[in-house]
Symmetry: C2
Subunit: 305 residues, 2 copies
C-alpha cells in the first residue's frame, strides 16, 4: 500500500480533499510527526520549497507530485533519484484572465475610469489589429494564444527551438528573440525559471518593441533585466509594465518598484493553483502510479520544466 | 450624380476619408452652407441628432446613413419617407473588449491592484464556471457571446422572441426575462432604446441574479430602473454595476451616481464608432445605392432598430 506524505502549509486542506476522493489503497500522512522525523513512504505531494527541505529525511521516496508550476527548489537540489511531476495544464484559464484582464484594463483605462468622478469621453485604445508576443508556448501559452485570437490579435510565440505551437501564428527560437520582439505592441512572459530564460528581456529586446508597448510578466522574474525595464518605463518608450513576479518576494512595502507610476505589481497571484485542480492532477497520477503506468507532467531535471 | 451631405461634428474628418475612397460620381458637401440653407441632394451621412435637426431643410433626401448605432432621434421624427441605414456589425469587437475588460478587472481586482502599494496575495475571482446573460443577441451580442465562450462562461441570451443566436447556449424571450435572470453571475445590457426594452432591469429581475452578481449596461439607459439598481447596489446583493449609459448624458459632476462606491461609469465610450469603420459601411452602401441594389443595415422605423 503506497504511503503518501502531504507536505507544506496547504497540507491539511489538500489532505481533506484527498480523503474524499476514495483513492484505492492509500495511506495518508499530513505533515511530518516532528522536526527531523523520517518518512518511510514512497510518495510526497507538496510545494517545491517544503518538499525540498524534507528530501534528506525521505530516503525511500520514488515519486514527488509538486503542487506548484515552478519547481526550482527541487531541480536545484542534488537529489534526483525519484520521478518529479508538475501541474501543467491547469493554469491556462487563470493566465488568460490575468493577461487579457490587464491588457484590456490598460487599453480601456479601467483603473482611471474606476476612480473618475467626471464625464470623460476621451477615446480609449483597442486590442484590435495589435500584435502580441508570448514568451513560452507550452499549455499555458497555447491557451492564452487562443483567447488572444478571439480578440483579433496577431500572436507570435518564443520558445527554445522555434517549434510551432497551437494557437500561435508564428514561433521564433530563443536565438531569434530580437526578431520576435520587433514591432510587438504587447510582450508577455510565461516562462519557467531556467538558466536559458535568464535576462531574455533586456534593453536590446525592449528597444525592438513598438513605442508605447506594454510588458506583462506572469512567468518568473529571472527573464527580466530590471534596470533596463526601469529605464524603458521612465523614458516612456514602454507605456506600462505589469509584473506578477519580482526577484524579491514578497516585495517589501516602500521598495522603489511600488513607486513607479506605470509599473503595476500583482503579488504573484496571476495563476493561483486551485487546490481542487491540484488534487485532480494528483489523483490521476496516483491511479497511474498504482497501475505502473507512465505518470503525466513529468519534469526533466536538466531542462527544469 | 448623387449629392451627399456629410452632417455633424465629425463631418470634416469623415469628408476627408471619403474623398480618399474614390467613390464613383460623388458630389460631396460637408455641412450646410449657412443656418437654414436647404440641401437639394438625396443622401445624408451623419449622426442621428444632427441629421434629425436638418430633416425639414432636406426635402429631397432618399437615403440617410447613420454614423451611430443608436438612431432614436430619427425614428422618433415624424418624417419617414426615406431609407435609414445603421452601422450594425462594427461594434462587436469594442463591446467584447468593454464587457470582458470590466468583468476581468472586477474579478481580478485590477483597479485595487493598480493603486496598491503593498504585497497582496488575497485570492481573486475567476470567470471560469460562471454564467453570463446577454440582453440583446444581434451582431453585437453574438460577438460578445463567442468571446465569453473562450473564457469558459456559460452564455444565455434574451431577445424579443427567444430566437436562437450564434454563440449563445440558450435564448429566452422578453416574456421569460425572470427565468433568463435566475442564477446569473453576470448580466449585460446590449439593447437599443425602444418601448419594448423600457425597464427590463427592475427589482424583480435583479432579485433573480446570484448574490454578488455584476451588472454591465453598454446598450441604452432606458432598460434600467435606476432606483431599483441603486437599492441592489446599496444592500450589496449586487456586487457592482458598470453603466456606460445614463438617463442624463453627460452626467453632471456631483451627481449621486458618481458617489456610489460599487457603481462605475464609463461616459458612453464602450463602443465608439471608428470613423474608418463608418466610412467602410457608407462606401459599401453607396456602391449599392448607385447600382439600385438593396442597402445593408436598414432600420425598421417601427421596431426602432
Amino acid at each position: 500500500m503506497p504511503k503518501v506524505l502531504v507536505a507544506g502549509a496547504d497540507g491539511p486542506l489538500i489532505g481533506e480533499q484527498l480523503r474524499r476522493c476514495n483513492l484505492p489503497e492509500l495511506e495518508l500522512q499530513v505533515g511530518l510527526a516532528g522536526a527531523g522525523a523520517p518518512f518511510s513512504g514512497d510518495v510526497i505531494l507538496g510545494d517545491p520549497a517544503s518538499v525540498s527541505a524534507l528530501l534528506d529525511q525521505c530516503q525511500s521516496i520514488r515519486w514527488v507530485q509538486s503542487t506548484w508550476a515552478g519547481v526550482t527548489p527541487l531541480v536545484q537540489h542534488s537529489r534526483r533519484n525519484y520521478v518529479l511531476t508538475g501541474v501543467k495544464g491547469i493554469f491556462g484559464q487563470a493566465m488568460a484572465e490575468f493577461v487579457l484582464g490587464w491588457l484590456l484594463a490598460l487599453e480601456r483605462r479601467i483603473p482611471d475610469r474606476a476612480q473618475g468622478q467626471r464625464w470623460d469621453q476621451r477615446a480609449d485604445g483597442t486590442l484590435l489589429g495589435k500584435t502580441i508576443g508570448l514568451m513560452g508556448t507550452g499549455s499555458i501559452g497555447s491557451h492564452v494564444a487562443r483567447v488572444c485570437k478571439g480578440f483579433g490579435l496577431s500572436v507570435r510565440g518564443l520558445n527554445s527551438s522555434g517549434t510551432a505551437a497551437e494557437g500561435v501564428d508564428h514561433c521564433y527560437s530563443a536565438a531569434q528573440r530580437l526578431e520576435f520582439a520587433q514591432g510587438l505592441d504587447y510582450l508577455v512572459g510565461l516562462l519557467p525559471a531556467t538558466p536559458a530564460t535568464d535576462n531574455l528581456v533586456d534593453g536590446a529586446l525592449l528597444e525592438r518593441l513598438n513605442s508605447g508597448a506594454i510588458y506583462i510578466n506572469a512567468g518568473r522574474a529571472n527573464c527580466t533585466v530590471d534596470a533596463d525595464l526601469f529605464r524603458a518605463l521612465q523614458t516612456g518608450s514602454l507605456r506600462a509594465a505589469v509584473l506578477d513576479v519580482t526577484t524579491q518576494e514578497p516585495l517589501p512595502a516602500g521598495h522603489p518598484m511600488w513607486q513607479l507610476e506605470n509599473l503595476y505589481l500583482s503579488s504573484h497571484t496571476a495563476a493561483p493553483t486551485g487546490i481542487e485542480a491540484v488534487v485532480d492532477v494528483f489523483c490521476d497520477n496516483y491511479r497511474r502510479y498504482t497501475r505502473d503506468e507512465p505518470l503525466r507532467h513529468i519534469i526533466d531535471f536538466d531542462r527544469g520544466y
